[in-house]
């Protein structure tokens, strides 16, 4: 089929469930009316960080009110492993030893959620304690890794560094992040005949849940059906991390023959599920006097936790984004994946990209301070360019670079230079409050870097009345995927959106799907659904041409009607006639992303189909007496290609930015010396609240955006890229601190930039600078 002519951006339709969200009618897993006899499950753990389990005394648990059964590893009929990489390092329930504080060792099944939780607290477990590795630095010192070091390099970086007129180096620590989806992990497993299971699960990856549950139960995949209507937030945290709770519910249902629900309490959720990786990044850059980068050498070490999970692809993506939007003539990127006795870290919006981009911008900032130039000028000087300046560290040319155009436009519309001047002046006269400003770009690679994951399926039925049932492998977690895909199908069949029934993701309808992740949801699933729609449309055209004796080319679909030569009839009428003529009105659709390939061994290839771009300007103010701070103004220009739904896309951009701002400012994960995560609830872990939204926030789609690749309607993925626009917040905070020393140095400001971190950076900067404007 030929590519349809470029269209105007699609309608800014509301999320398909918008009104149902607002009236409370939208059904989440915990809202499903429980079948009779439903039991409730809660996990139990040892009060220890790591070591051999000596005694496992569950007498009090079994005796507690309402308890029906208590599960341990011995109750698992198949494999006690849910490692997504098949590494055998992720038990459903720990056997023999625990590896982090909070690792589930047993599970209680009781008549109520509260009874199960109360009983789970009564386990008496003794663990022979071992010395834990709790940080990246400790793991590096002990040389404990979850996998091999990876290296990506291009050019003679050693020679270029040695020959560079100037070199700067530093170390940046950036913290992790809890997903804090508002709906905690939840699964409801209902026994079926033949020992099969139907599992309602809040997950981004139903097919993986299906396979892992089958493996754990020692059953074929066809014995397990997983259904997902919607998630109360995912952000990567319900990709692999949803599996353990589904597995426990399934195990419980398998054992008791009754429906079992496992819904994690918030504290358990935060203790027991993986988070964004925290990183230590050591960097060195060689540059010339103008600020042109000549060579970069970095080592990125991350806290992976106690198992592999998705840490390899996460760290790979961190490496892929260490360049951000900048050309490095010669470069080496080393990546070390550290084993620690903390919960196994996992996917989180950006998937390593944010950490890479944060480091890239720190490098730019350092070059700017060393050369005395405004960081924006250094950014522009080092952008990717044509021909030899287009090559990434992984040898994929950047063929669609538009960050320079976006930055140029934003620089104008945000009045960057006027504001820069005003801030410099204000800071010179200020004692206590200092302002900072930064404009940072984002370039983000789109595609799963594991190439075979870039496939999707869809299933489309047209019923005799002309109504359409749409199903595909993507999951709806709030990102608006379902409405976008429905819009594409409605457009293809020229039907009103209300004719398209959006249905729950179900492994029995579309099999072997990839996770809804890597921003790929609409790129993959909308294409698959469009292909299914085109198949059906082709059959209807052939039927109409034959029926009305016209050429296929003169059959047209428009506004819910079909024109065939001189005949015009309702879509529903044509469909019914086709049915009577025994035309198949159900079709599957499939899509695989073309052109991509990557060789991990040589670190070369084309891992990304295309790149998404954006830029943000952020202005902040800090209080040098206390480190308190505030984001005052944000202007964003983002490229979503030809947007499939501007309202949905703007929501992703603004929401992603604020989530990124939280990662870089208030969201601090804090473990005590025993390895216990003390920030395990919203009372102690602070995501942005309404008042943290900057009083000025201007978010725009880039009007010239258009994907150069043949994506669905030339749109671009938008789930993850905007998260990294928030790097401008961190840069602006550092800019404010840097003003203390007249912008001579990069301040020692790590992430998250809490009031404490900012005050420490202020004091360090004061100590280093001769300018003692304020008596210390």
């Amino acid at each position: 089929m030929p590519e349809t002519a470029p269209q105007q951006p699609a309608a800014a339709l509301a999320h398909d469930s918008a009104l149902k969200h607002a009236t409370g009618e939208a059904v989440y897993v915990d809202d499903i009316i429980e079948p009779g006899g439903t039991l409730h499950l809660a996990p139990g753990y040892a009060p220890a960080v790591c070591g051999r389990i000596e005694t496992l005394n569950l007498e009090a648990v079994r005796a507690a009110a309402g308890v029906v059964a208590v599960l341990t590893a011995k109750d698992i009929p198949g494999q006690n492993d849910i490692s997504p990489m098949n590494r055998g390092d992720e038990p459903v329930l720990a056997d023999h030893a625990v590896r982090f504080y909070g690792e589930p060792v047993f599970a209680v099944i009781a008549t109520s959620h509260r009874a199960a939780r109360a009983a789970a607290a009564l386990g008496r477990l003794e663990v022979t304690p071992e010395a834990p590795l709790l940080t990246v630095d400790a793991a590096l010192a002990a040389r404990r890794f979850i996998s091999e070091q990876q290296v990506m390099q291009r050019g003679d970086w050693q020679g270029a560094l040695a020959a560079a007129p100037c070199t700067v180096s530093g170390t940046l620590y950036c913290g992790g992040q809890d997903h804090f989806y508002l709906e905690s992990q939840v699964s409801l497993a209902i026994p079926q005949e033949d020992g099969d299971l139907l599992v309602y699960c809040s997950t981004q990856h139903p097919s993986e849940i299906q396979q892992q549950l089958a493996k754990m139960l020692g059953r074929p995949a066809h014995a397990v059906t997983v259904e997902v209507r919607r998630l109360g937030g995912g952000f990567g945290g319900k990709e692999t991390q949803a599996c353990q709770w589904a597995a426990l519910a399934a195990l419980g249902a398998n054992l008791t023959g009754q429906p079992v629900k496992c819904r994690l309490d918030r504290d358990d959720d935060m203790l027991m599920t993986g988070k964004r990786h925290d990183f230590r990044i050591d960097w060195q850059v060689g540059h010339d006097a103008e600020g042109r980068i000549l060579a970069v050498d970095t080592t990125m070490a991350s806290r992976c936790g106690c198992s592999a999970d998705l840490s390899d692809p996460v760290n790979d993506r961190a490496m892929f984004h260490l360049d951000n939007a900048y050309f490095f003539p010669a470069v080496r990127i080393r990546s070390q994946r550290c084993f620690t006795n903390t919960v196994s870290n996992t996917a989180f919006r950006g998937f390593g990209g944010p950490q890479g981009i944060l480091a890239a911008e720190r490098i730019i900032e350092a070059v700017a301070r060393a050369t005395g130039k405004d960081p924006l000028l250094v950014r522009k000087l080092n952008f990717y360019g044509p021909r030899e300046r287009s090559l990434t560290p992984y040898h994929q040319p950047v063929a669609d670079f538009v960050a320079d155009q976006i930055v140029a436009e934003l620089e104008q519309t945000s009045q960057y230079w006027q504001r820069r001047q005003a801030i410099n002046q204000a800071n010179q006269g200020a004692d206590t409050l200092l302002r900072g400003l930064a404009l940072t770009p984002v370039k983000f690679g789109i595609s799963f870097t594991t190439s075979w994951l870039n496939q999707a399926g869809a299933l489309l039925h047209i019923y005799r009345d002309g109504s359409v049932h749409l199903n595909h492998g993507g999951t709806e977690m709030g990102q608006g995927l379902f409405i976008k895909v429905a819009q594409v199908v409605a457009n293809e069949l020229q039907l009103d959106i209300s004719e398209i029934k959006i249905t729950a993701t179900n492994t029995a309808k579309v099999p072997n799907t990839s996770a809804t992740a890597a921003s790929s949801g609409s790129d993959l699933n909308a294409m698959a659904a469009r292909n299914a729609a085109r198949t059906l449309k082709r059959r209807l055209i052939a039927f109409a041409a034959n029926r009305f004796g016209v050429a296929e080319a003169s059959v047209h679909f428009s506004g819910g009607r079909v024109q065939a030569g001189g005949q015009t009839l309702e879509f529903a009428e044509l469909v019914n006639q086709a049915y009577l003529a025994r035309v198949q009105l159900s079709a599957t659709g499939f899509y695989r992303t073309p052109k991509i390939h990557y060789d991990r061994k040589t670190a070369k290839g084309r891992p990304f189909y295309y790149f998404a771009y954006g830029a943000a300007v952020t202005e902040v103010v800090i209080d040098t007496l206390t480190g308190e701070n505030r984001v005052l103004a944000v202007d964003i220009l983002h490229d979503a290609g030809r947007s499939l739904n501007p309202a949905i896309d703007l929501g992703q951009i603004e929401g992603g930015f604020i989530q990124g701002m939280g990662w870089l400012t208030t969201e601090e994960l804090w473990w005590d010396n025993e390895g216990y995560l003390k920030t395990h609830a919203p009372s102690t872990y602070k995501i942005p609240s309404c008042g943290d939204r900057p009083p000025h926030m201007d978010v725009r789609l880039w009007s010239r955006g258009e994907n150069t690749e043949a994506t669905v309607h030339r749109s671009k993925a938008v789930g993850e890229p905007p998260f990294m626009l928030a790097v401008s917040v961190h840069q602006a905070l550092a800019d404010a601190v840097s003003s203390i020393g007249d912008y001579a140095r990069v301040p020692q400001l790590d992430s998250p930039a809490t009031p404490e971190a900012i005050l420490a950076a202020v004091h360090a900067e004061r100590a280093l600078t001769a300018d003692t404007r304020v008596p210390a």
Binding site: H21, G233, T626, K678, C690, R693, V699
Partner: protein, 495 residues
């Protein structure tokens, strides 16, 4: 004396609901979701911090039905006796409330899980602004939503929805419901009974006078007293504690009084932070800012002044300010009342000067001598966070020199207590930045803070010094730079 009533009664939406025996530890949220299948109200954290479980509690205030947002996850079911509970489903019956329609139209939801709670907080704002005939400012919208976390949207579209909805009147179906419910609740209030429900799982009592309260305490000395239960609710939801008897103080009329005398402001122990807001903010503007950042509207609408003090929670952010203001407590025991200074009430971490059978009856704050009072709270997040350091300062001057100083920090020791050495440096001196080196050295000796998840010991020391510097500069007449301009009073906490 009122007659004891064994049945809990409330309005669920428009429907009167009666319950003879119930578990005193049951939360309103579990009741709504598990027994009534009103699953629009969500559990996000079970600790009153995320707001996904927000409902409206309607109660008579001076005879008029007033709605306030509350966290159902930590509210004991018994606390809704004689009140109305409105959930997101009730608002939409039979047509969506303007807030619900605006949330959909303005793209205010993504995953939708926080949305019902957002809707209820905004409905509370909507009712209040309609009553007061005003349009909320951005700051007031932020305040109304300070107790509702959203992880998806970045809040912008929700603010847009709030602004759009507040252009519209209270819809007819909600107005009719309110009028009808008001009559019903007035009837209940007039029958002179109080709840005292005994069940297999325990007792829940809600006395209406101190006489009844005394009798109940004498009869069940082990009973757990609660007012808003915004702290005790977590002992139930998180620590799995179970109380055989709970006495709810929210209906005790004598504990609800708020009285100005010439010399002092006296606040009954069960007066909510929301109801005390205006009087406290009038007494000292910084206290208003502190209160605005205390918990959230859902918490302040339930939590009481007395409870914040009586529990001796180390995170009781009000204590430093109240001690610096020279507040005193009235304690009621089996043999009568006694009065002590608030600073003497806190003995050590979790240990207060409260005798068996005694309860906090009232707090009084001197009305005079507060013109140099300042207090500042430092936390990772501006709204709804617990302070890493909270500093409160107050001096009395004579001829430009400090006659008396009260400097109190929270977050610097196991309890909020005065910085006696630092106070001594200020005494007799002219307050200003020149005092800083000596005063700061003294302050460093006053406290030995610890490192924890909110801040390191080092930071606490530095930040406390920063606040001292801020105060001394302010006393020298220098403007105090602030990151957040003076807060407008919240719409929905007006008394």
């Amino acid at each position: 004396m009122a007659q004891a009533r064994s049945q809990l009664r409330c309005l669920l939406g428009s429907e009167p609901f009666f319950l003879a025996a119930f578990d005193p530890n049951r939360t309103l949220l579990d009741f709504l979701r598990e027994e009534r299948h009103l699953t629009g109200t969500k559990e996000g954290c079970a600790e009153g911090d995320c707001g996904a479980c927000t409902v409206l509690i309607g109660e008579l205030h001076e005879g008029v039905l007033r709605y306030r947002a509350a966290n159902a996850c930590i509210l004991p079911l018994g606390a809704v006796d004689n009140k109305q509970v409105l959930t997101v489903e009730h608002l939409a019956d039979p047509v969506p409330h303007p807030v619900q329609a605006a949330m959909a139209a303005q793209h205010g939801s993504q995953c939708g899980f926080c949305t019902p709670g957002m809707v209820m907080s905004l409905a509370s704002l909507h009712f209040a602004q309609a009553d007061q005939g005003c349009t909320p400012t951005l700051d007031q919208i932020n305040q109304a939503l300070a107790g509702n976390l959203c992880r998806c949207t970045g809040y912008g579209p929700i603010i847009d929805a709030a602004q759009a909805a507040c252009q519209q009147a209270v819809p007819a179906h909600c107005q009719a419901l309110r009028e009808k419910s008001q009559v019903l609740l007035q009837g209940w209030a007039a029958d002179g009974t109080y709840l005292c429900a005994h069940g297999a799982a325990g007792t829940f009592a809600a006395p209406t006078s101190t006489r009844e309260l005394r009798q109940l305490i004498d009869r069940q000395p082990q009973a757990r007293l609660v007012a808003g239960a915004t702290d005790v609710g977590l002992w139930i939801s998180k620590r799995h504690q179970r109380f055989a008897a709970v006495i709810h103080l929210g209906s005790v009329s004598e504990l609800q009084r708020l009285a100005h005398s010439g010399e002092a402001l006296e606040i009954g122990a069960a007066v909510t932070l929301a109801d005390a807001f205006a009087a406290l903010a009038a007494l000292a503007p910084d206290l208003g800012v502190l209160l605005r950042r205390f918990g959230s509207p859902q918490v302040r609408g339930q939590a009481s002044i007395g409870g914040n003090i009586a529990n001796g929670s180390p995170i009781g952010d009000l204590a430093p300010a109240l001690i610096a203001l020279g507040a005193r407590l009235r304690l009621a025991g089996p043999d009568g009342e006694r009065e002590i200074a608030l600073e003497d009430f806190f003995i050590d971490y979790g240990h207060q000067d409260l005798l068996p059978g005694e309860y906090v009856a009232a707090l009084s704050i001197p009305a005079e001598g507060q013109q140099h009072f300042r207090c500042w709270k430092i936390s990772k997040r501006f709204d709804q966070d617990i302070s890493a350091v909270c500093g409160a300062f107050n001096v009395q001057l004579a001829h430009g020199k400090v006659r008396e100083a009260r400097i109190v920090f929270g977050g610097m020791a196991a309890i909020s207590r005065r910085a006696r050495r630092c106070e001594a440096v200020l005494k007799g001196a002219t307050p200003g930045p020149a005092l800083l080196p000596r005063a700061a050295d003294a302050l460093a000796e006053d406290y030995a803070p610890i490192s924890d998840l909110r801040a390191s010991a080092a930071y606490r020391g530095q930040a406390a010094r920063g606040l001292l510097e801020r105060y001394l500069s302010a006393m020298a007449g220098q403007p105090v730079p602030v990151l957040y301009p003076a807060a407008t009073p919240p719409v929905n906490t007006h008394a």
